[in-house]
């Protein structure tokens, strides 16, 4: 039994102060002045409680790239960041494109036992882009969605097949949108800063043209799609318009797209190298607008840990990716609350919507529901350092920055899986 006293509770609908009593992994009671004999007490006065955050886009690197991260180190980082559920991408080595590997990830997750881990399966075998995976079997094994993330499905014909096939299984496709030919060997956003730094630019059309293609496909085929890591104003605009027409499209953006822009690449810190790239200040503003107006359905991390040797090199050859679990909540508090995004909206984007899109548990704080809770201090100011990162990948452009808001407790199925020491 756990009794959480006097926390400010914010779910997607309302904000109120109450006590929460947890028993047998579930929320037993929410109310004022609750007491329970023998219950472990958490004094949450001055703290904020939101439904356990669900990160619907992360890379855990296991199997195959455990030198970057594994399910244990990734889970530790996730719960430290306040996440109770995470959805891992299948671009591991080997690629998660068969039911055996889905089972492997589930078993490892269970053994580690920190947060809930939901695997996704590949759309095409080996992310090769030519042969559909056995989505039916993968889905039955527990894949919550399908994605070739890390790579686009370049062939329009293949995407059409994937959508039609996923439709018959009522499966969700999560789409990494990128025209590889147009991106070519670009390493950062194409714009003033790429020109100044002499780095090869990635034109925004590399992302937007593929979003346009897949919205058109989803619209004509009447399929459901989820667009991963949207980073440009043009991308948000297209998705907004598609939603208004009734297209079944959802999307996510990442904390780095509303917290940082391409001017951060000045100095060639390879921790700013991410795909899609950090865009312009106008795109940052567009991301925040899209969060406020409902275009963005979810905020996910795209947690992409890398080994220091893969980042501590020339910018051109550093790998793409930001290690994001531990900074995500702080970046939301730092950049979204002051912009007028409510705590309720944050709860919606980090739990209610991801649960709905993926059809997994979570997303609310209510009696009888699983006790997945993120408890944080929304006022604490601190300088984010490497020491704040338990992920094996310390590749964050936010190291050294002052942030606001910090997770204090992460409760998963009624068990405290993280407590700030």
């Amino acid at each position: 039994m756990i009794l959480i006293k006097s926390g400010k509770i914010a779910d997607a609908e309302k904000t109120y102060t109450a006590d929460i009593l947890i028993e047998n992994g579930k929320i037993k009671q929410i109310g004022e002045n609750l007491s329970a004999k023998g219950a472990e007490e958490i004094d949450a006065e001055g703290l904020t409680i939101i439904p356990g955050m669900i990160d619907m886009h992360c890379h855990l690197r296991e199997p195959g790239q455990e030198y970057k991260e594994d399910i244990l180190s990734g889970s530790k980082a996730a719960v430290k960041g306040g996440f109770t559920s995470i959805v891992c991408m299948p671009n591991t080595d080997p690629v998660i494109d068969n039911a055996g590997l889905i089972a492997y990830v589930q078993e490892r997750a269970k053994k580690v036992g920190l947060c809930k881990i939901y695997p996704t399966g590949a759309i095409t075998t080996g992310l090769g882009g030519t042969q559909l995976t056995e989505m039916g079997e993968l889905k039955a094994a527990g894949a919550v969605a399908f994605t070739d993330d890390g790579k686009p499905v370049s062939s329009g014909k293949m995407m059409r097949n994937a959508l039609n096939y996923a439709k018959c299984l009522d499966a969700l496709l999560i789409l990494h949108e990128e025209d590889l030919d147009l991106r070519a060997d670009g390493v950062m956003n194409e714009g003033y800063y790429s020109s100044m730094l002499g780095l090869r630019g990635i034109n925004r059309a590399a992302e937007e043209s593929m979003i346009a293609r897949d919205i058109a496909l989803a619209e004509s085929l009447k399929c459901r799609i989820h667009i991963a890591h949207v980073s440009t104003r043009g991308g948000f605009d297209m998705i907004k318009k598609a939603k208004a027409r009734g297209v079944s499209v959802t999307c996510e953006t990442m904390p780095h797209y509303f917290s940082a822009d391409d001017s951060w690449v000045v100095g060639y810190d390879s921790n700013t190298k991410v795909n899609p790239p950090l865009r312009t200040k106008d795109d940052v503003a567009a991301a925040i607008e899209a969060i406020k107006d409902g275009t963005v359905d979810a905020i996910a991390t795209d947690h992409a840990p890398h080994h220091v040797d893969e980042k501590d090199v020339e910018y051109d050859i550093a790998l793409f990716g930001i290690s994001g679990f531990e900074s995500a909540l702080s970046l939301m508090v730092t950049h979204l609350l002051p912009a007028g995004v409510s705590l309720n909206k944050i709860a919606e984007l980090t739990s209610k919507n991801p649960a709905k899109i993926l059809r997994i548990p979570g997303g609310s704080i209510a009696e009888g529901e699983p006790a997945d809770l993120t408890i944080f201090d929304e006022n604490e100011k601190y300088v984010f350092t490497k020491a704040d990162m338990v992920s094996r990948g310390k590749n964050s452009p936010f190291i050294g920055r002052e942030l606001v808001g910090k997770a204090k407790y992460t409760v998963v199925d009624g068990v405290i899986k993280y407590k700030e020491s």
Partner: protein
């Protein structure tokens, strides 16, 4: 006077006072050289290494001469050397050099930002001798030195830089340096070879060479890598020369005293016609001579410790 930053990775952010100081010192160095003084003691006990990941006989030789004339102990690591070929990282190489007590690393690298990255991680001072498509500050310093020597000033000069701006570190360094010194810069080249939003730096951009050259005090051509045509950036060298080649017809539009410059080596008949390269207003050969003086000045300034300066 000291340079404000530990490393010279580019002219972006280098102040007018610093640039003027380097150019003034270069003048003294050139005076010595012209008097035939080629053994000076200023850099005795200083060790300088050239770390070149790209072939460049010209720039490397210029730095080598500059260092030797000032008495420095010069050594060289070339891209073909064993450790680099073995896959040693840039950071490893830099730290090894640092452990050997190197004072200055002069570095050329095919990737933009490599000198800044290395300089941030070691205490030896780094001079960028050209990084990717970013900057080549000593080339721009010698270009500015040449302009000042020939035309008496930099402020108010109209400088037209013509050619492959996108891939040119020489263009970027000149753009920053010249703007800082108060010159007007116009960039001209095909749309495929023009960096996006470059006009935000305050330079003019035109696709019409006649407009660029009109009333110019300096007409600077840039080397076109001939493989640009194969990569789809240009239809043909013939059309490139037609639209963007500097020829005597175009030059008539410049001021009568206009200087003709080029960082070399020149593709004759591509970015410049032969009669332009050998024109009496061409200072292309003098650029090479001035390069040694400018680099001597820079090495001298960058090896001074604060306490050495009176």
């Amino acid at each position: 006077m000291q340079l404000i930053n530990k490393d010279l990775v580019g002219l972006e952010g280098v102040s007018a006072e610093e640039i003027a100081h380097i150019l003034d010192s270069a003048k003294s160095m050139k005076d010595y050289l012209q008097q035939g003084v080629k053994k000076m003691p200023q850099l005795q006990n200083k060790s300088i290494v050239t770390l070149f990941y790209e072939n460049s006989t010209r720039t490397k030789m210029s730095f080598d001469l500059a260092g030797k004339y000032l008495g420095a102990s010069m050594s060289a690591i070339a891209a073909s050397s064993s450790s680099i070929q073995k896959g040693e990282t840039l950071l490893d190489t830099g730290r090894t050099l640092e452990a050997r007590g190197i004072d200055i690393i002069i570095m050329r690298h095919p990737m933009s930002g490599a000198p800044e990255f290395l300089g941030r991680n070691i205490s030896a001072r780094v001079i960028n001798a050209g990084d990717g498509m970013h900057e080549h500050p000593t080339q721009a310093l010698l270009d500015m030195y040449t302009m000042q020597e020939k035309l008496g000033r930099l402020a108010g000069l109209k400088v037209a830089i013509i050619g492959d701006i996108l891939h040119s570190r020489v263009a970027r360094s000149n753009l920053h340096g010249l703007k800082t010194m108060g010159a007007d810069v116009t960039l001209c080249g095909p749309g495929t070879l023009m960096p996006v939003e470059i006009e935000k730096t305050g330079v003019k951009v035109t696709y019409d060479i006649r407009e660029a050259v009109k009333d110019a005090d300096v007409v600077m051509g840039l080397r076109l890598q001939l493989e640009r045509q194969k990569s789809g950036l240009l239809p043909s060298l013939r059309e490139y020369n037609e639209l963007f080649g500097v020829n005597s017809e175009v030059l008539k539009l410049a001021k009568p005293h206009a200087l003709i410059m080029h960082p070399g080596p020149v593709n004759r008949g591509v970015e410049m016609d032969t009669d332009i390269i050998d024109h009496d207003r061409s200072v292309i050969t003098e650029q090479v001579t001035n390069g040694v003086a400018v680099r001597m000045a820079l090495l001298y300034i960058m090896t001074r410790k604060k306490e050495d300066i009176v």
